[in-house]
Amino acid sequence: MANERMAERTEERTVQPLHPLFELTAMRVREFMREKEAVFWVFIFPVLMTFALGIAFRNTAPDKTPVAIEATTDAKANETAQLLSGSTEITATVMSPSDAAQALRSGKVSIVVIPQNDSFEYRFDPTRPESRAARLMLDDVLQRGKGRADVVKTGEQRITEPGARYVDFLVPGLIGMNLMGSGLWGLGFTVVIARSRKILKRFAATPMRRSHYLFSFMLSRLVFLVLEVAAVIGFAWLVFDFTVRGSWLSLTLITVLGGFTFSGLGLLVAARPTTIEGVSGLMNFIMLPMWLLSGTFFSSERFPQVLQPFIKALPLTALNTVLRSVMNEGATLSSNWIPIAILVAWCVVSFVVALKIFKWQ
C-alpha cells in the first residue's frame, strides 16, 4: 500500500510541469524531432549538399593538360609525341585532323599542335584561359626538346592553401542558407499551422503569456541551430579536412545572431497568413532573391556594381560575409561591424513589426 502510493507519487512528479517557457520550447523541439521530413531538410540535406558540391568542385592536383597532335605524317606526329612524352604536365594524343578539331571544339583537349616540316603550329581558342596556359606550356616543352637552353636557373615552392578551396568557400554559405531556411520554414509553417488548426486561439484562451509563446520559438531554434551548424562543419571537417580559422566564440555568436534574425523574419511572414499556401508564397518571395544574390554558391561580388548596395543590405549576404570572414579568414566580429549591424537591424525590425501585427486567430 505504502509502495503503491510512493509509485504513484513519483509518477506524478515526472509530469509536474515546469515553467511555461520551458514547456513550450520542449513542445517545439518534440514536434520538430518527430517530423521526419523536417529533420531531413534541416540536418541531412545540407550535409548531402556539402558532400555533392565539395566533390564536384574539389581542387585536386591539377590534371595534366590534354593536347592533340594532328597526324600530318606519321613520322612527324611520332617525333612530336616523343618530344612531349617527357613532360609531366602534358598528355598528348595523336589524332586525325577531323578528330583533333572535334576534340578541341568539345573541350576534350585544350590545344592542337600541327607539326610542319621545321616548325609547329598551335590551334586554340584564346578566349579559353586553359588553352592560353596550354599554349605556353606546350611551347616551352617543344622549344626545350629542340635544344633551347634555360638562361637562368629557377626553382619552385608548391603550396596548397587550405581555406582557399571551393569547399571552404561553400561551407559558410551553406550554413548561412540553412539558417535562413530553417528559421523561415521552422517558424513560418509551425505558426501558420497552429493558427489554421485554431491552436493559437486555444492558447489565447489560457493565461499563457504571448511573449512566452513567441520566445519559445527562439529558444528551440537555438537548440537546432547548434545541431545543424555542427552537422555541416563536422561533416566538412571529416570529409574535406575543413577547419574554422576564427574563434569558436565568434562563430557561435554570429550563428546565434543569424538564427535570431531569420526567426524574426519567419515570425514576420507568419504574423498574418491563415493558410500554408499564403505563407509559402511570402517565404519564397523573401528567400528566392537571397538564394540567388547573397553569395551562397559563388561570390556576390560578381553581380553588377549597381546591385551591390541592395545585395549587401540583404540579411543573408551580411550573414554569409561574416561567416566567411570568421571561418575562412579567422577575422574577429568587430572587424565585421557593418554586416553585423545590418543583421541586428533586420532582427529588431522584423520582431517589432511581427509582434505588432501578429494575429492570434
Binding site: E11, E12, V15, Q16, P17, L18, H19, P20, F22, E23, L24, M27, R30, E31, R34, E35, A194, R197, K198, I199, K201, R202, F203, A204, A205, T206, P207, M208, R209, Q361
Partner: protein, 323 residues
Amino acid sequence: MSTQTSAVVSTIAPGAQRVAVRCEGLVKRFTDVTAVDGLDLEVFTGECFGLLGPNGAGKTTTVEILEGLTAPDEGAVELLGQHWNDGDDRALRERIGVQLQETQLAEKVTVVETVRLFRSFYKRGHSVDDVIRTVALEEKRNARVGKLSGGQKQRLAVACALVSDPELLFLDEPTTGLDPQARLSLWDIVEKFQTRGGTILLTTHYMEEAARLCDRVAIMDHGKVIALGSPAELIESLGADQVIEFSVASALADDPLTTLPAVKHLHKRGEFYALTVSEIGVALPALLAEIERQQSEVVTLTTHQATLEDVFVSLTGRMLRDG
C-alpha cells in the same frame, strides 16, 4: 465596453442566485452578417446552461465573446464578477476553462505532453495525471494525439479545459460528430464537473444533449434568444406533450388538420406532417378519421413525447438540423 455594466452586480436581489456570466445587449457584426443581434444572458453559479440552436445561430460567436476571444461591437460582458480588458485578463483566464469548437491539438505529441503543456500555463489546478484520469484517458496517456479517436480527442480537449480546476467551463459543441458511446462518456465528465460545484456554459445543436445536461436552455436563432427556461418548462410551453408524425399517400388540405381537437400546431415538411397535440387519445382517432375523409391513406405514423426540437420547430417553423 465595461463602463456600462460596472453597477450590475449590486442589482441582484437579496436571496437571488449568484451570477457567473452576465451579458447585455451583445451585438457582433461581420461584413456580411450580424452574428449576434442584441443578446442578453445570465448564467447562475453552479448551473449547466445550454445555448441551443441550429448552425449559424450565433452560438459560437456568443461564446467566443464571453471567453474574451472576440470583442463585441456593442454590449457588455461580466464573468465571475470581472470584465475583459480590465487590465487583469490573465487572472480571469486562470478561473475559466475553454474548449473551442474547431481546435485540433498538435498530432505528434502525446496526451500527457499536451495536458502538461496546458497545466504549465496555470498557477494552480489539478495534477496532470488526475485530469487524465478524470477524462478516462489513462490508457492513452502516452499515445500521440494523432492516433486518438474522435471521442478521445474531444475528451483530451476537455481535459485541457479542466486542468486549471476552473470555476466556469465553456464547451462549444463538445459532442458534435461523436458516436453515441463517446457522447455518453463526455456527458459523464460534464456532469461530474457540475457535481463538484462547477458552472458550465455549453452550446449544442443536439436537443437530447441539452435536455440531458442543462438546467436551463436558451434557444438561439439568428443571433437572438427566442426562448429561455428549463428544458421541461420549454416543452411545457408548447401546451402539448405529444407529437404525431405521419406521411400520407396523397396530399391533404392543411386547414382541417389544424382545427382537429387537441391539435396545437402543424408543421409540414414535404410530404411529412408533424402535429403537436395535447391529448393523444383524442387527437389520433380524429386525425385518422380526417385522413379517411380526405380520401387519403396513411403511409407512416409515429408518435413521441414532445422534445426541445419540437419547441424549436414551433417557434421557427424549421428543424434544428435545417441550419
